[in-house]
């Protein structure tokens, strides 16, 4: 446990001295701001349109959560698909390239502790990112009254989604000493998990259900609609657990005969 925190602490400090992490954070928030602005404009236009048509009953149905926050969270999730691989690509690959991997693997530390430490640090940084993205709901709360509970569920979903991205990124980074390869393969896996249910839309049966179950947006959408379903939380956590397990095996494999 102590080793895990030692590694997590060192990694986390690393995120705050490396430009990559700041670029990731900045791109995430700036793009988020742009989407937010676009969504607000659309919402505003729609409100005016409805007012012109003189339908107050429609107006009362229009909702900041479904019209602004829900689409914003989906856009943010796409931004995450692109930036998270950049955040995690160096985690193992760079250690291998720089030779510090020899320090880590010859220290009296279990591979599980190394992986856990690195994951904890990346998770903490992700938490900071997602927390900073609360600026958008906060702005909304100044001008309107979106439902807090729904937003909370959505942001929890975004965080869990980001955690699964992190763990996939750690896994691909553990496979190579080339950061670009790590980034592109984790990018590929994430995209696949986003579109995996597409071909199944037409089909039926068990395969359809399975592909649909594996689809990330499927579980994420439920949460952005304000529903915290245990099964969705469990799904994200199992993605994390599976990817971290594979990472541990991949690091440990260096020790296999």
């Amino acid at each position: 446990m102590r080793n895990t925190f030692t590694i997590a602490g060192k990694e986390l400090t690393g995120y705050f001295v490396q430009p990559v992490a700041y670029v990731v954070l900045t791109v995430f928030i700036l793009l988020g701001g742009w989407f937010f602005f676009a969504m607000l404009r659309q919402f505003d236009e729609m409100v005016q349109l409805v007012q012109m048509m003189g339908r107050p009953e429609t107006l009362s149905q229009m909702n900041l959560n479904t019209r602004v926050i829900d689409p914003l969270l989906h856009d943010l999730s796409i931004v995450l698909v692109i930036v998270m691989p950049a955040l995690t690509m160096r985690v193992f690959a760079e250690e291998k390239r720089a030779g510090t991997y020899e320090l880590l693997l010859t220290a009296p530390v279990r591979t599980g502790e190394i992986v856990a430490g690195k994951f904890l640090a990346a998770a903490a940084f992700t938490l900071v990112m997602v927390a900073l993205a609360w600026i958008f709901p906060l702005i909304l709360m100044v001008f309107g009254n979106p439902e807090l509970g729904v937003m909370f569920a959505g942001y929890l979903g975004l965080f869990l989604l980001a955690l699964s991205f992190v763990s996939v990124g750690l896994f691909t980074s553990s496979l190579t000493q080339n950061q670009i390869i790590a980034a592109i393969s984790s990018f590929g896996i994430l995209i696949l998990l986003f579109v995996i249910s597409w071909p199944a839309e037409a089909g039926g049966g068990v395969v359809w259900a399975l592909l649909k179950y594996l689809s990330l947006p499927e579980h994420f959408s439920t949460m952005t609609r304000g529903v915290i379903d245990t099964s969705d939380v469990v799904f994200f956590l199992s993605v994390v657990a599976t990817a971290l397990f594979l990472t541990q095996r991949s690091v440990e494999s260096a020790r296999w005969r």
């Binding site: 102590r2 080793n3 030692t6 590694i7 060192k10 400090t13 690393g14 001295v17 490396q18 720089a98 030779g99 510090t100 991997y101 020899e102 320090l103 880590l104 693997l105 010859t106 220290a107 009296p108 530390v109 279990r110 260096a254 020790r255 296999w256 005969r257």
Partner: protein, 270 residues
């Protein structure tokens, strides 16, 4: 320097025991049936031409990677079977100093100390000691990436000794150092020895004559010579021994160290 410090009861403590080590990278066999040992207090010089398999052997000894066959015991503990306990006893300076270039020297060494299991209350003392021994006290606040090669090498040494390990494995510890630094580092290594066991690889032969108790020469993945430095005949330079040992490759198997030395000695006096 004698034949190695004896343990309390006068018994020789075998701190590093390498037995029949073989390592294949795919179909290429880099290390072939390598065996040697080092006792407590000994400094063992590990020599061999480029690509002979020194780094590979050291990486296996330190538990960084597994051997294809053979075993390594550190203080009686198998590096593979009893890995954590064995690794706890080792300080390792890899071929390239394993520095996190964006960390400050101090922070880096503190990190290694924790990772190597130095107790919380003893970390500052260990840090001070490591900085002092390697002459880095003035560099403690510098960022590793901004240090010169020689100083990076020192930081590498500092991280290898910070937890006061009984066994140290140093892969070319004096590479990249200026003559004065080389001199200092040699003194340092000699000073470190005490009750410790040190394996160091080097291409600088006088270094071995000066600081080592024992020399192991490998060539093309095989042990070509394992000998106590004091047993090398008077008047025979290590360079001759080295060149002779590696020239025997091909029909080297079964040639004993004594034979090799005798031939060198004979050639020398002739």
């Amino acid at each position: 320097m004698g034949a190695g410090v004896r343990g309390a009861g006068g018994a020789v403590e075998r701190m590093i025991d390498v037995k029949h080590l073989t390592k294949a990278y795919g179909s290429f066999v880099a290390v072939k049936d390598v065996s040697f040992r080092a006792e407590r207090g000994q400094i063992l010089g590990f020599l061999g031409p480029n690509g002979a398999g020194k780094t590979t052997t050291m990486r296996i000894i330190t538990g960084f990677m597994p051997a294809t066959a053979g075993t390594v015991e550190i203080d009686g503990l198998d590096i593979f079977e009893n890995s954590l306990e064995a690794r706890r006893r080792i300080g390792y300076l890899p071929e390239n100093p394993p520095l996190y270039l964006d960390m400050r020297v101090e922070a880096y060494l503190r990190f290694v100390a924790k990772l190597r299991g130095v107790k919380r209350g003893e970390i500052e003392a260990a840090l001070d000691h490591a900085l002092k021994t390697t002459g880095l006290t003035d560099m403690a606040h510098r960022i590793c990436g901004q240090l010169s090669k020689g100083y990076r090498q020192r930081v590498g040494l500092a991280q290898a000794l910070i937890h006061d390990p009984p066994v140290m494995v140093l892969d070319e510890p004096t590479i990249g150092l200026d003559p004065r630094q080389i001199h200092e580092i040699r003194d340092l290594i000699r000073g470190l020895a005490g009750g410790r066991t040190i394996v160091l690889s080097t291409h600088i032969l006088p270094e071995v004559s000066q600081i080592c108790d024992k020399v192991v020469i490998i060539n093309d993945g095989r042990v070509a010579l394992e000998e106590m430095v004091k047993d090398i005949p008077e008047g025979t330079s290590l360079e001759e021994v080295f060149l002779h040992a590696i020239a025997r490759e091909g029909h080297a198997e079964g040639v004993s160290a004594e034979e090799a030395l005798e031939e060198v000695g004979a050639g020398h006096s002739a």
